[in-house]
Symmetry: C2
Subunit: 323 residues, 2 copies
Amino acid sequence: MHNDLVAALDIGGTKIAGALVDDGGRILLRAQRPTPAREDGETVMRAVEAVLAELAGSPLWPGVGSVGIGSAGPVDASAGTVSPVNVPGWRGYPLVERVRAAVGGLPVALVGDGVAMTAAEHWQGAARGHANALCMVVSTGVGGGLVLGGKLHTGPTGNAGHIGHISVDLDGDACPCGARGCVERIASGPNIARRALAGGWTPGPDGDASAAAVAASAHAGHPVAVASFERAAQALAAGIAATATLVEIEIAVIGGGVAGAGEVLFAPLRRALADYATLSFVRGLVVAPALTGTDAGLLGAAAAAPRPVGSRSAADRAAALGG
Amino acid sequence: MHNDLVAALDIGGTKIAGALVDDGGRILLRAQRPTPAREDGETVMRAVEAVLAELAGSPLWPGVGSVGIGSAGPVDASAGTVSPVNVPGWRGYPLVERVRAAVGGLPVALVGDGVAMTAAEHWQGAARGHANALCMVVSTGVGGGLVLGGKLHTGPTGNAGHIGHISVDLDGDACPCGARGCVERIASGPNIARRALAGGWTPGPDGDASAAAVAASAHAGHPVAVASFERAAQALAAGIAATATLVEIEIAVIGGGVAGAGEVLFAPLRRALADYATLSFVRGLVVAPALTGTDAGLLGAAAAAPRPVGSRSAADRAAALGG
């Protein structure tokens, strides 16, 4: 057996998912644990080790040549450390070193979750075949990643593509990150719901005041619900247009729960994009829904995994497709 | 004599400058013509050809191996065409093909002027040695370019880095580009002057109502003049922070006439940057004034020029320094 499999880890504030993935992007085995997010760092690490141990118990394990990790951010890929906002026990936590020790010294790569989702969409999703793309997750937060010149652009610390925290409203509402008017502060699910409630929208009998409930009202034509999605779409459009104007991208791929609202989001987004993406070289920009769904984190971690010399990483293959 | 020289062209709305540049970045010969910007496209081209003919008359010319062009934008590097806003006779004008014909078929490369300035600053200026940088010109307009992963990031059409036309105020004033609240709409010299006048600032006895005159008043402590520069600095900071958050850069280099205002601009810019560049991986971002001055366009065009196979372009050498 050749070492043509990778072990992928997708680490979030709710769950730690692992998988063995082949070079065609097929998930051959899965393992998962809840993230003990309120516990100390070593307890969180034991959950990661339990996932790895379950994968390592498989007869497929000898075929694993490397490990790719996609983690909630911030991460520092150059230092191999993570500091996920929702996992307070991990601050500057040496995750790469600890995972490498747990897998007997195999090579390990780390990227942020926005970059991982982008790697997945570029490899198997809506960004496939595109040399220059922005991929985004619009959900509880707003994250993203970039493909530039056919390759995943991670930046030195693995955090590039953080479109949720660019300011599109420099005098706007304070964002928890410390800045004002960030895309996330306007376009995330909780902010869509907050704005609808503030505007007089009320939940139905089930009391559901989520962005999904606002989306259902918007589909039914409720003007406050429609307006809240339009405002989110405007902020997303300004951020996407800014990205295209700065680095030249041909497609923006949007996934995450809020993207599940469908045309309630995408129709005003396309209209607003025409307002903000005005220069000749960005006017052709296309917006598309993401395709890789809940496996995006695992597939992206697999795509980011290092490969033995002489082999080609999944990301390289994706790059070749894209270039 | 080896072909280790390049011919550089810097094409703007006011002048067409040319030079022979060696691989150390020394300008060995210059030629220049006014841009007949109001004339038809062929008349403008004749001015370019006159500059090239003057360079070609030099005994150094046989050492020229290629031509690099930096042009006012928009450009389309993939098509080899230019459509400078201030040269209406050129719309989709096939500048690369025409220059190649004028120089007997030598290889020709085209980049936008913001990208050219960036190449110059990366090669010989304040961005030297930095693998990830944003370089900007703040003047009548606001332009820029990016160095990513040690290399000039031009984008497929040569327009990447257009920071002047990202929106940092999505409900803000209409910009001539069609969008709202663009960095240029707030931070360019004419907008600094406009805002000061609207706030009650009045020019001195000489009637000079330029941004430079506003800067002089700001140095003397005039509160409206100070406030106009502070607002420009805020918009620049939001744009620079957005760029750093999207692609990871370690330095932002600022040139152009407005940067000549010095601390009246740079002091509030550094303060505002702390407000908008909040995530861990962008907090170390440094701002510095540009160093290459009026030769930036020529040096950048030279850096962007293609080199013979087996040789290395100036940009590659700059990349090696940066990486």
